[in-house]
Each structure stands twice: as C-alpha cells, then as structure tokens.
Symmetry: C2
Subunit: 257 residues, 2 copies
C-alpha cells in the first residue's frame, strides 16, 4: 500500500510546491518509488519537473466523469519519479465539483487502484492555496498531511485553521487522516521573527515539527525556472542538503526500526 | 465616486496583503480617504492593521443575504483609513455563493452605495489566492486590478492566467475592468532571477508595470506581527520608502495633471 500525503496549507506561497517536488526527488534518490500528483491549476509542480501542462493530462476528467487515474501518469526525467501533471482546465473543477453530489470523495475513489497496486511507496499531492474542492479531495484521499510553513507571521496565523480543518475531517470523512508533519520553510536564523515563529510552532505542535529547517536560498528559487529539482540543479548546495535531510527524517518517521 | 481596486493574483504569497495594507496607509498619509475590504478568509489584512476577526463583521452576510456593507466599516487606528474586516466564516461563502444564482455580482451591488457616497477616494479589496467566488466578486466589482507580482519564476507563470481572466471579464461581466498596474514585490537586485523576471514582465506589459520596485526587507515581514503598516512600524526604513514612492506613482497614474 502506498502512503498518500497531501502537501497542503491554505496560506499562499509557503513552499508547498517546492517541498512536494524536492522531497519527492530526494526520496527517489534514496531508492523510493514516488508519484507526485499536481492538483493545483497553476501547475507549478508540473513545470518544476520540466513537463508541460497539456489539455486532458490532469486529474480533471477523472474527478468529473471517471476515467483512469493510472492512464494519466507521466514519467519525469528521473527514474522512479512519476507525475500526474496539472492542466489549465483544472481550475474549472473547483466550481463543477461543488455543484455535483459527493464533491470531495472522487479523488479518494480514483486513487484506490493506484494505492493498492504497490507501484509507489509514497504518493504526494501538491495542493492549491485554498480549501476549495480540489484541496478537500486531497485531504479526503490522504493518509497524512504535510504542512509546509513559512517562518513568517501570517503563516503562523493560518496554522490553527488548517489544524482545525484536519480535526474536522478526522471526525468525519477521513478518520485515518493525521498531520504527518510541519516543515518550516524559508527559514532565516538571522531574523528574530524566524526564530520566534519556529518556537511558537514547536510549542503548539511539539511532536509534529520536522527537525530539518529549510533555509531560504537563491538556488531553491531558481531551480524551477530550469525545470529541475534542486538536487539536480544545485547538487551540493544548502537547499539540496536540507531537502536530503528532510527525506531522511521523513523515512525515519514512516519506517520505524 | 470612489475608485475600486481589487488587489489580486491567484499565485499565493506574492505580497497582495502587504501591498494592499501599505499602499492604503501611504495614500492616507497623503490625505486620501481609503477603505480596505478584507475579502480573504485568512484575514491577514485585518490583523495587519491590528483588528480582530469577529463573527458577523465581514462581508459574509452581505454577500449571502443582504444587509448593509457600510454598517460593517470599522475605523483603524489611523484617521481616514477604514476597513471591513474578515471573519473565519467567510470561507463558507466560496461554496454557498457558487451554489446560488448570480454568484459573482453580489459585492458589486452591495458596494454601489459606498462607491457613490463619496466618503472614500479609493476602495481596495484584498483577495485570497484563488479565482473562487470571493475573488470573482472582487473582479466584477472593481474598476481596476492591482497585481502584486513576486520576482520569482512561479509568479511569472501565473501572470498570463490572471491577465486572461481580466480579459474575459472585460468581454463579459465587467466591461470597465482594466489592469491598474503590476507591482513587482520582494525584489532583490542581487539575484539574476529577480532582474530576469522584471525584464520579462516589462516586455509583456510595458505600460502596466509600476516603476517602483518593492524590495524584500525584514521589516516588511515583521510589521504585521505588530499589527501596524510599515510606515508606522519602521517609519524611515526602505520598505516604508518604497511604498511611499508607490503611493506617489499610484496618485500620478490616477490623477492626470
Ligand atoms: N527555501 C526557499 N528558499 C528560497 N525560495 C523558495 C524557498 N521555498 C520556496 N521558494 C520560492 O518561494 C516561492 C513560493 O514557493 P512555492 O511556490 O513552492 O509555495 P506554494 O506554497 O506552493 O505557493 P502556492 O500557495 O501559490 O501554491 C516560489 O517562487 C519558490 O521558488
Ligand atoms: N517586500 C517584502 N519583504 C519581505 N517580506 C515580505 C514582503 N512582502 C511580503 N512579505 C512577507 O511575505 C509573506 C507573503 O506576503 P503576503 O502575505 O502579503 O502575500 P499574499 O499574496 O497576500 O499571500 P496570500 O496569497 O496567502 O494571500 C508574508 O509573510 C509577508 O509578511
Ligand atoms: Mg504551489
Ligand atoms: Mg494575502
């Protein structure tokens, strides 16, 4: 059984896509088979691994009418790292799903064969910055939620909102759902604010915060413009090192000795 | 007649709230009367000016059932700078509006009395990072759209999407709608990427890009945690200076000699 992890936070620009893409790439480097589903109509994860957003290529049709999720899986340039890309029309799914019946359980049902097939050990879902129908589908399909959290004030404000949403879903549509972990991103130890935010998050969610802090680095911001994960674009840089450490910690948390 | 400006970009974390709050504060400093509407359920603009998100305080009820927008106007600590705050329940409006008839024209109708009253010269609407029903209401109510654009690759990818959306609305629900301008945010002249993104945007939208580039500064990130605009929190800093220059440019663009 593949573990399904939604990478979600309704606050925008906190590093969801950067974390989904680079953590996936680092797990592949450690010989895990990983699938990344780009559930954001912006399609940043798709371009970050060098693929194009093609009409009909995303989960869109699958969510609205049926069809086979596995048929939309594309290989990336990296062996054992596959993706279901985004497409522009995916934005339409937000409205169409809400107007349909059982709007939030469609991805869960479509994922069942892929989850059971054993092709992948981890399936990440990169979510858009909202609690619309697409993110709700991801949260109802997932085993855990990885919450990237920028070390900034506004991001801290939003943490209680997503934590409450996860609690509500655990009590309802997805009893198995849990916070997989909180990853502190764009951390800069030089500023008071950065340190204060980390301390505050650790105080409220002591056993959920990943020890690895992802620093703000220029290379992490540049890598997507070359369509490469940072471990390919800047192999030995501090961004690549940080995500490799995160991958090690992720494995340790999921594969107890 | 007040000019209504939607501060919008579906890409997350690009500086929409930071720009809405600080541009508004700088216009007030130049003796303009300004109203800020927080249309984001996250409520970052509300806390950035030091107010609480109170149940019933937002546009939520007005959008769904009626009621008076003017009655929800709150003063901030700064004379001539008022706000209609956000509230948590506002998140529910996204779904409820889509399931209603004429989901996107409710804010426009509710704003008509405030727009005509002449109390304010500018009304800014801070939008959430999506094209959901709340942002669509803002785009259908607005005279212009101010697009904050982070000097990063992913933000560049999204620009064509919002530009196309504005074009569609001009051809349909809101013929008067125009791009008021594009504000480059979190600019760092030291990186190649920053310069490349600015050049690219200027190439595609030559007469729309504000000349003022907003630099990335620690103080701009800290100010919201004190509930103050940057011109109050760090009066003479480079963040305050940049937004004052932006305000001057904004006035020049709107009040031709
Ligand atoms: N650690 C980092 N150092 C420097 N830049 C980063 C880092 N992490 C992310 N970025 C950059 O910051 C911006 C926001 O990150 P990203 O797009 O991954 O966030 P997101 O949460 O996926 O955004 P959205 O809410 O729009 O989906 C991007 O331009 C990205 O390249
Ligand atoms: N010029 C700047 N320098 C440094 N930090 C900034 C700057 N502008 C914004 N920030 C910080 O970057 C983060 C993102 O900015 P902000 O929240 O204003 O963006 P947004 O587009 O409103 O986000 P969302 O999409 O979630 O609504 C915030 O933590 C903010 O404090
Ligand atoms: Mg993203
Ligand atoms: Mg905002």
């Amino acid at each position: 059984q593949a573990r399904v992890i939604a990478v979600a936070n309704q606050k925008g620009g906190v590093g969801k896509t950067t974390t989904a893409v680079n953590l996936a790439a680092c797990l592949v480097e450690r010989r895990k088979k990983v699938l990344l589903i780009d559930l954001d109509p912006q399609g940043n994860a798709t371009s970050a691994v060098g693929l194009d957003k093609l009409p009909g290529g995303s989960v869109y049709q699958v969510l609205l009418g049926g069809g086979d999720l596995a048929a939309r899986v594309r290989p990336t340039a990296y062996r054992n790292f596959d993706i279901i890309p985004s497409e522009l029309d995916l934005a339409g799914a937000e409205v169409e799903l809400i107007r349909s019946d059982d709007p939030f359980l469609r991805l869960r049902r479509a994922l069942d064969p892929l989850r059971a097939a054993g092709t992948y050990e981890v399936i990440f879902i990169d979510c858009p910055p909202s609690f619309g129908a697409l993110t709700m589908n991801a949260l109802c399909a997932a085993d855990g939620v990885l919450i990237p959290l920028q070390c900034e004030y506004f991001a801290l404000e939003g943490l209680s909102v997503i934590a409450r949403m996860i609690g509500d879903l655990r009590a309802g549509a997805n009893p198995a759902l849990d916070i997989d972990g909180i990853v502190m991103t764009m951390y800069s130890g030089r500023t008071k604010l950065g340190q204060q935010v980390v301390q505050e998050v650790v105080r409220h969610f002591p056993d959920k915060v990943y020890e690895t802090l992802i620093p703000r680095t220029v290379r992490l911001g540049e890598a997507p413009s070359f369509g490469k994960p940072v471990i390919v674009y800047d192999r030995t840089g501090i961004g690549a090192t940080a995500y490799r450490l995160l991958a090690r910690e992720f494995i340790r948390r999921h594969e107890p000795p």
